[in-house]
Symmetry: C2
Subunit: 249 residues, 2 copies
DNA sequence: CTAAATAGCGTAGCAGATACGCTATATCGC
DNA sequence: GCGATATAGCGTATCTGCTACGCTATTTAG
């Protein structure tokens, strides 16, 4: 298996292009481009604000110059997503797996909260970027002490990733919607009250009756609490699973 | 609280526009438009194929005619997403909560698998469409026999929704990527072998050593298995939670 | 010194969303 | 009935954005 058999986009992500020999010195670097794109997305808090023209403008270059460094805009988005999550914070020494995974999950959310547009980037392939891989590695490493077989570790981590990705999609997309139109959220209880016919939606109607939707607290706090509640339920399940597997040994 | 205080997009979704009095008979209906848009997205298996022009063409109308029925394309997307998930299958009689939630989750996945583009539609507000609400209601209803307080039911269901949304994002986005470029997936193991330096990525390197990425089975089957594994872990956690709460009583 | 490879860029084509205003049509109040 | 009025459909035009193509200048291999 040779180096050149790597798919070109992966090679790009790992910065594995062999140094070119002839031609003018590049005035742009891939890192500059990715950084500029991230800055634009951050500044506007909106992935839609990233256009090739705007990225080029920020770098003082022409639009088409970017295409010497990325194959397409989609390419750039993938590079942005790997760059934006950076690296996980170092895991505290000697923590048990449960503390470690909770730390990890909170860490992911904190990293992505800095770049809310992350949720909007299409996942087009396996997570092959260096930063993504570092996160994956960190989560796996936490399970080293558990005695789970490798396959099982992957399953547990995949489940965790799935849950975290769900939170990213649900909570961050919603947060973007909230910024755009807070009224829709504040009216949600009232809307349901009008629209949730108790015959068709008995369980929802009961919630409305119980006033569950009436107090509108801090949006982010609540979604963090919901996330943590669900996460702990999942980890309870993992704990039971570890007991089960290790008992058999 | 009057009917007219509903946000206009919500009113649209619930088809609550009062019958207009004057003007020509509409030759287009909102339902036609939404149905046509869904058919296009399904046929191309790609949300990007849905353009206002193409939807109009399929209906034999001009592009701009659509704008008499939807405010914007984003509006149309939201309507599509609520319409596409239809209603949940009726819950089998007398099932326990665990069977019920598993049934529900599998049901969601099956419903969305018919419309893979669903994952790409931005969530811009609380899930206020009639079909979405029906799903929410169904999941809540399953927990009726458990004795959990209303707030706790919401938490459990929100966690489940989060996990399911994660699966939708991860698995379905990946499936789309797979269709586009299967090679990237088949090479994934080999790619990691080259790129996963054991010093930087010890846990991943161990997986590679163990050959976890070597056999490439059926993509959808595997992702279903992963989903179910994680789901059962979560439900184990819910079971423990229910025990805890009901013991206190 | 010449050939080859490469960086940047100007132009242009194409697709897509949608604002605006026009025309025809149906209904309301009289 | 009859005008006033609101509404449906649509043609045109504008604006934004991605990117193919080809030119020029630059650098280095041989």
């Amino acid at each position: 298996m040779e180096k050149n058999e790597l798919p070109p986009d992966v090679a790009l992500m790992w910065r594995l292009r062999e140094a070119p020999r002839r031609g003018p010195k590049p005035s742009l670097s891939l890192d500059d481009i990715v950084r500029a794109a991230i800055e634009i997305a951050d500044a506007d808090n909106d992935l839609g604000a990233v256009s090739m023209a705007r990225v080029a403008e920020r770098l003082g270059n022409s639009t088409m110059a970017l295409y010497r460094h990325v194959k397409s805009k989609d390419d750039l988005l993938v590079l942005m997503s790997d760059a934006a999550i950076e690296r996980p914070d170092p895991m505290p020494e000697g923590v048990d797996w449960r503390t470690g995974l909770t730390f990890w999950a909170d860490n992911v959310l904190a990293a992505i909260r800095k770049h809310r547009w992350y949720a909007k980037i299409p996942i087009s392939g396996p997570p092959a970027g260096p930063n993504n891989l570092a996160w994956f590695d960190a989560a796996l490493g936490v399970l080293n002490g558990t005695g789970l077989p490798e396959e099982a570790k992957v399953g547990v981590v995949m489940g965790l990733i799935t849950y975290v990705q769900g939170q990213i999609r649900v909570a961050f997309d919603l947060a973007a919607g909230y910024d755009e139109n807070p009224a829709a959220f504040q009216q949600f209880g009232a809307t349901l009250r009008q629209v949730a016919d108790p015959r068709q939606y008995p369980a929802v109607a009961r919630l409305v009756e119980a006033g569950v939707f009436d107090e509108v607290g801090n949006f982010e706090d609540e979604s963090d609490q919901d996330f943590d509640f669900g996460l702990q339920l999942y980890l309870d399940g993992v704990a039971a699973y570890i007991d089960r597997v290790c008992q058999d040994k």
